[in-house]
């Protein structure tokens, strides 16, 4: 530094590097836009294929259960492909692991959109995980269809025009459970057991619309903290004799075991998300180290349903799913999670058909807005899709779990919307699936 000669040398070297930097990058022309003709109508669409993607927790704490959803969807897409695909196009389904960590979600979605060049997202799972990529998908104008979460976040057509919900949102479910309790247990003291995020919040909002005066306690747990003793004890101390849980399956198992230990035996109602008997049963046996071996604890517990599941093996839809799984599934049995994935895949096939022979990203979004409300499929209830609403299924029915043998209906199929919308009975008969198991939606134009 002190000797001028040396400084000059260094400055010279700096200058060389900077020049190198600029010259080495030499300007080329603007990259030409690839405007594929004819059948390759948009990103991810070729004459032979349509590529779609999704993120799921395939490893980590959220993997049990949820990791089965994409295997179901894959089986259904394979089933459709084996029958010739949609308008002659095969559906390529790529799903990647985010371990339920939003940081990973943003990486894998980058990979799906930028590297795999998917046409659309179908069924990305999780509220915190998917909200990390909501902006990115919408600003990249990637259709973000059928998010696997009941949060109200997916229904914002103004700010997020590409994003569509799918399952009944937690508020709708909360309202229907609330009204059921109001009508059938008017004297019950109700306790709420809530996951401390949107899930619990939306569910609570729905329930309070009907039974605000019956609620004696609302206890929240932080996901990740496996000790729910204080919450369950507080519900017991408040004298709640009916507890509504808006929680994930592992907390269904934890709350059941904790209540058993505290000698607390209220009537439990769990939201659909947390009530899969097969998964809860396996979690129960794991958490109790083998002392509780199956879902018998759940006998008599109430929950809701919007899809016919494995507990109704004679239902025409379940028969279809069984057929699909037997032909194209991998290892393991058909489960309600796999059915969930297949039902989402079925809805996507409907949407793709509605988008016409040359589907575009814009086209599939418009098609869902225009025709989505009329689509009928595996669910008991219709979707609420329109230009002003990207909300998914409109309702559920309340059922009771009868041990391992299945469920019995407690209420008719009920439909409603968010806010003040009234709850009404859905009387339309649930149509059986088409003979070949593949929807046949005619595009509008």
């Amino acid at each position: 530094m002190r000797r001028p000669g040396q400084r000059g040398l260094a400055v010279g070297a700096l200058a060389t590097i900077v020049t190198l930097l600029i010259t080495s990058c030499g300007a080329g022309g603007r990259p030409e836009e690839d405007q594929g003709g004819g059948s390759a109508s948009d990103v991810g669409v070729t004459a032979e294929s349509v590529k779609v993607g999704a993120h799921f927790p395939l490893t980590g704490v959220a993997a049990p259960g949820y990791s089965e959803i994409p295997t179901g969807a894959k089986a259904y897409f394979d089933f459709v492909n084996a029958a010739g695909g949609v308008n002659g196009r095969r559906i390529d389904y790529v799903y990647r692991d985010d371990a339920y960590n939003p940081t990973n979600t943003s990486q894998v979605v980058n990979e799906l959109v930028l590297q795999d060049e998917i046409f659309a997202m179908v069924g990305g799972l999780g509220t915190p995980t998917h909200s990390a990529v909501l902006d990115f998908l919408n600003s990249s104008e990637v259709p973000d269809l059928f998010v696997s979460s009941g949060s109200l976040l997916w229904d914002q057509p103004e700010t997020n025009p590409q994003t569509f919900g799918w399952q009944p949102d937690y508020e709708v479910e909360g309202k229907i459970i609330g009204q059921y309790v109001q009508q059938n247990f008017p004297d019950a003291k109700v306790g709420l057991f809530l996951q401390d995020d949107d899930f619990g919040e939306d569910g609570e909002k729905g329930a309070r619309a009907y039974i605000d005066d019956q609620i004696v306690a609302a206890e929240r747990y932080a996901p990740g903290n496996t000790d729910v003793g204080p919450q369950v004890a507080a519900l017991q101390a408040a004298g709640a004799d009916l507890v509504i849980g808006f929680n994930v399956p592992s907390y269904t198992a934890l709350s059941q075991l904790t209540a058993m230990r505290l000698n607390y035996d209220p009537q439990w109602i769990y939201s659909n998300v947390g009530s899969d008997p097969a998964l809860v049963g396996s979690l129960l046996s794991r958490f109790s180290e083998g002392q509780v071996t199956d879902a018998a604890l759940l006998q008599g517990v109430m929950t809701t349903e919007y899809l016919p599941g494995v507990d109704a093996p004679d239902n025409a839809w379940t028969k279809l799913w069984q057929r699909v799984w037997d032909a194209h599934g991998g290892q393991g049995q058909l489960s309600n999670y796999r059915i969930y994935g297949m039902a989402q895949a079925y809805t996507f096939v409907q949407a793709l058909q509605a988008a016409g022979p040359d589907p575009t990203r814009e086209g599939i979004v418009t098609a869902l807005e225009e025709m989505g409300g009329e689509l009928r499929g595996p669910a008991f209830v219709p979707y609420r899709y329109s230009a002003d609403s990207h909300a998914g299924l409109s309702g559920v029915k309340v059922v009771r779990i009868a041990g391992t043998g299945g469920t019995e209906d407690l209420s008719p199929v009920l439909v409603t919307g968010n806010g003040d919308t009234e709850i009404t009975e859905h009387t339309e008969e649930h149509a059986a699936p088409p003979e070949n198991g593949i929807p046949n939606v005619q595009p509008q134009n």
Binding site: Q6, T59, N101
Partner: protein
């Protein structure tokens, strides 16, 4: 350096490091301009891991303090950035500086407590930090958004930058590329500062404290103060890393800052080679590029998506075990051994 004639290399350390960083800048520009948008986004991810790992390698490699809580410090940086960037009033560079400063403050508190602890006790205390801090975000959900987290508006390139970029490369600046530039410029700056610091008096006394506390104290060094200082420097890096993370991921949520993050940072530093910045870079590259590569290999080999996804952590674990068995000094330790063997005798390093 040895291979170059001495007179072409400036004697001043600052200038030498500056030259190195500028060369690094050229490489970064070349790489970012020639790779796909997806690689750009992966490189952006790598940049924040590398910033935090570089800070951690100073703490653990140079000063001998172990920290299992750097993920939590990144969370502090990320949440600070998220809060500041809300409402568009604060430019992102200022938000990053504030994030680093706030995290450094937290580092003073933690470092002061940690300076009295050793080995497993220190690991335990910082582990508590890693477990506890994400819980704060859930507890103060009104301010910090609870489980859902705060969404972050990632910065748009200013016109002059986009113009300059177009002037040099004639390509449009995608948002992934812009974020990668932010990340890597920050990383290069951090490397420059840390490299100078490591070669300075502080680097020497930190090493002295690490190697023999009693001797260092006899030489008149104040252990506690030096330890806190090392922790603060490291925390500031973690804060910056958190700021970059928040902008790249566009979200600060508790589930992004689990103990797994802290542990991955530590494994990155260890696999790369403790105390070496190049090792920290290498380790972070492994964190980012290995899992997708393994998953794709797995799917290519006919595994189902679920099996392929489960393969990634397995392979990472195997790599960790193999490195520890065959190269206890990490990848950089191995390189250095070959280098020494190559020049046939000890030399000055």
């Amino acid at each position: 350096m040895r291979t170059l004639p001495r007179r072409f290399v400036p004697r001043s350390l600052l200038l030498r490091n500056l030259l190195g960083v500028l060369a690094g800048l050229v490489v970064v520009v070349l790489v970012l301009e020639t790779t796909s948008p997806f690689r750009n986004s992966q490189l952006a991810t790598m940049s924040y891991y590398a910033i935090a790992a570089a800070g951690l390698t100073v703490l653990t490699g140079l000063n001998g303090q172990i920290s299992l809580g750097h993920g939590a410090l990144m969370a502090v940086g990320a949440y600070t950035t998220a809060l500041l960037l809300e409402g568009d009033a604060v430019p992102f560079s200022l938000a990053m500086l504030v994030a680093a400063a706030v995290t450094a403050l937290v580092g003073i508190l933690v470092g002061a407590a940690a300076s009295r602890l050793h080995g497993p006790y220190l690991a335990g205390a910082t582990l508590a930090l890693a477990v506890g801090v994400p819980g704060l975000a859930i507890y103060f959900d009104g301010l910090l958004g609870g489980e859902q987290g705060l969404s972050v508006r990632s910065p748009r390139p200013p016109d002059w930058f986009a113009d300059a970029h177009y002037f040099v490369t004639a390509g449009d600046l995608s948002s992934a590329k812009y974020l990668a530039y932010i990340g890597w410029l920050t990383l290069l700056l951090v490397i420059l500062l840390l490299a100078n610091l490591m070669a300075s008096r502080f680097g020497r006394v930190w090493r002295a404290v690490r190697d023999d506390e009693v001797a260092a104290e006899l030489a008149g060094l104040r252990l506690g103060r030096l330890r806190v200082l090392a922790f603060v420097v490291s925390a500031a890096c973690a804060g910056l890393a958190g700021a970059v993370l928040a902008m790249v991921v566009r979200l600060a949520a508790p589930s992004g800052f689990t103990i797994v993050l802290s542990l991955s940072l530590l494994t990155a530093v260890v696999v790369g080679g403790l105390g070496s910045i190049a090792g920290a870079l290498l380790g972070s590259a492994l964190l980012v590029f290995l899992p997708p590569a393994v998953t794709n290999l797995g799917t290519g080999a006919g595994l189902t998506g679920v099996q392929a996804a489960q393969l990634a952590p397995l392979v990472y674990g195997v790599v960790l075990v193999v490195v520890m068995l065959l190269a206890p000094g990490g990848a950089m330790g191995l390189l250095r051994r070959f280098w020494r063997r190559g020049i046939n005798q000890g030399g000055s390093r």
